[in-house]
C-alpha cells in the first residue's frame, strides 16, 4: 500500500483570485498505486488545487512535478497526454454523442484508429459494468450515475497514470455510492491506476482511500490514514466548528 514511488509532487502551490488566496502553500505527494483522499469543507480550495494540477489554472507560486518533470502551467491537453486525467464535479457529458462514442474520444488519445479506439472503449465500459444495452444511447438520455460512469470511462480510456476524481459521489444515492466505490476499487487494483479522490461524503472517501489529506481555507491542515484523520482535533474543528464555551 505505502512505500510506492512518488509519482506526483505538489510543492508550495499558491493560487490567488484577486485578494482571496484559494490555495495557500499546499504541498503533498502521491505514491504509485494508492488512492489518496482529499477532503475539506466547501471553499477549502480542493477543486482549485485540482485545476492547478490539471493546467486549468496556473499557480502563482510553487511547482508541480509529475514523474520527475515540472508540469507547472502547462496546457490541460499537454498534461492529459502526459498521464494526468480528471473527472468533473458537475458532469460534463457530450450530450449529442452516444455513450460509446464519448468513451471512444478518450481512447483516441493513444491511437489514430477509430476502430481500435471503439474496441477499447467497449472493453472499458464493460469493465466498469456499464449496462451494455445503453452503449448506443445519446449522452443526454442517461441517468446521473451513468453520467458519472461515462465520465470515469472516458478518463480511463486515455490510459492515465494518475486519475483525479472531483466529487464523484455528489448527488448519488447510498446504494449508488457503494456501487461506484466498488468500481473505483476495482479500477485501482486491476488497472493499477493511482487516484486522488476529492470528496465531501466522508463515509465514501474513508472507505475508499488509504491515505488522506485535509484542506481548510486554502491550507493543508492534516495528512494521514483515515483513522488518524477521523481523530484529528483540527479536522473535527474545521468540519464541526469550535466547541461552544
Amino acid at each position: 500500500m505505502s512505500g510506492g514511488e512518488e509519482i506526483l509532487k505538489v510543492e508550495n502551490v499558491v493560487k490567488r483570485f484577486g485578494g482571496i488566496t484559494a490555495v495557500n502553500r499546499v504541498s503533498f505527494n502521491v505514491r504509485k498505486g494508492e488512492i489518496l483522499g482529499l477532503i475539506g469543507p466547501n471553499g477549502a480550495g480542493k477543486t482549485t488545487l485540482f485545476n492547478c494540477i490539471t493546467g486549468v489554472y496556473r499557480p502563482e507560486e510553487g511547482r508541480i512535478v509529475f514523474l520527475g518533470e515540472d508540469i507547472t502551467g502547462l496546457q490541460p491537453h499537454v498534461i492529459a497526454r502526459k498521464g494526468i486525467v480528471r473527472t468533473w464535479q458537475k458532469v460534463r457529458p457530450f450530450k449529442k454523442m452516444t455513450v460509446l462514442d464519448t468513451v471512444t474520444v478518450g481512447a483516441l488519445l493513444r491511437t489514430n484508429s477509430v476502430t481500435e479506439a471503439k474496441r477499447k472503449a467497449e472493453d472499458i465500459l464493460k469493465f466498469i459494468e456499464f449496462p451494455e444495452d445503453k452503449f448506443e444511447v445519446m449522452g443526454k438520455e442517461i441517468t446521473l450515475i451513468e453520467h458519472k460512469l461515462v465520465d470515469l470511462a472516458r478518463a480511463i480510456a486515455t490510459e492515465p497514470t494518475l486519475l483525479l476524481l472531483d466529487e464523484v459521489a455528489a448527488g448519488l444515492r447510498p446504494n449508488e455510492m457503494e456501487r461506484l466505490a466498488s468500481i473505483l476499487k476495482k479500477v485501482n487494483k486491476e488497472r493499477n491506476l493511482t487516484m486522488i479522490v476529492v470528496e465531501h461524503v466522508m463515509r465514501f472517501v474513508m472507505g475508499l482511500s488509504q491515505r488522506m489529506i485535509v484542506m481548510h481555507e486554502g491550507e493543508k491542515i492534516a495528512e494521514g490514514t483515515p483513522q488518524e484523520i477521523a481523530n484529528n482535533p483540527r479536522v473535527i474543528e474545521a468540519y464541526l466548528g469550535t466547541k461552544p464555551l
Binding site: T54, Q75, P76, A80, R81, V85, F94, K96, L108, V114
Partner: protein, 337 residues
Amino acid sequence: MALSEWVRESRKYILGTIILVLVLAFIPFIIGFDQYLLLILSTAAIFAVFVVAWNIIGGYAGQLDLGAFAYIALGGIVAAQLLVVYNITPWIGMFVGAGVSAVLAAAIGYPTFRFGIKEVWYALLTAALVVILNNIFHLPEVLGSLDHYLPPANGWYYLKFPVYENIYWFILAMLAIVVFINLWVSKSKVGYYLRAIREDELAAEALGIDVRKYKLEALVLYAAILGFMGYVYIVIAGTYSYHTFDSPHSIAIAIMGIIGGLGSIAGALTSAITLKVVEEYLRASIGATIPGIHLLIYGLLLIIIGIFKPDGLAGIYESLKKRRTSGRKKISGGGNP
C-alpha cells in the same frame, strides 16, 4: 484513417451520395435545358456545397461561423484576377484561391482560438471579417467601385460557358467531393475530436485534445473548400466586385446549416437545396411586390425549427427513425415501458 476502412465504414452514404448526384445531374434533361431553371439549380447546388463545407466548422466543430463569403469572395477574386490579368486558367487559379483563403483562415483563426474567442464573439468576429474585406476591396487601389467582368471567351479553359448545364454538372461533381470530405472527417479521429469540442470544450481539452489545433484545422479546411469554389460562384454571378463579400449570404449559409441540423450532411444538403430553390422562386414570383419576402420566410422557419425541432431537419429524420424502431420493439413485445 485508411481509405479502404473509410469506404467500408461509409459505403451506404457514399452510394447514397452518388445516387443523389446522378439524379440531380439528370434534371436538366427533364426540364429541357431551360436556362433560367438551370441558373436556379446551379445557385442551389453551389450553396449546397457551401453549406456542406460550413458543416465542418459549424456542425462538427460547433463554431458559429458567419464569414463564409470572406473566403468565397477572396478565393474567387484571386482566381478571376489571375485569369483576367495573367490569363492563367482557373484550373490553376482555383487552387491558388483555395490556398489564399486557407492562409487567411489560418491568420484569423490562430489568434482567435489562441485567445479563446468563441460563441457569439466568434460569430461577431467572422461577420466583421466579411465587412472589413468588403471595405478593403472597395478601395480604389484594390477593386474600386466598379463591377469587374471575366473575359468574354468561353470553354473549359475558362470554366465558363454560354449555357448553364456544364457549370451545373461541375458543381454537382464538387458537391459529391465535398460530401465525401465531410464523411471522411465525420468517421475519422478529427471528426470525433471536433464533435467533442462542440459538446464541451473544457472536457475535451481535459481528455488530451488540442482544442485550438483541431478548431484551426476545421476552419482552414472549410475556408479552402470555399476559396476553391469562389471562382465558380463568380462565373454564375457573372461579375465580381467588392459586393462579392456578401454579408447577408454569409449569414444565410449559417442559417441553412442550422436549419439542416448541426453535424448532419443530409440535413445540410436538404435545407440548402430546398431553401435556395424556394428563395429564388419567391423572389421571382412575388419578390417584386414584396421585397425581402424570402428573408421573412427564413426568419419564420428559424423560429419554427427553434421551437419545435432544435436539432434541425436532422432531428426530424432521427425521431422518424426512432419511432420506426421503437414501433418494431413494441410489436415484438420486448422491453420495459
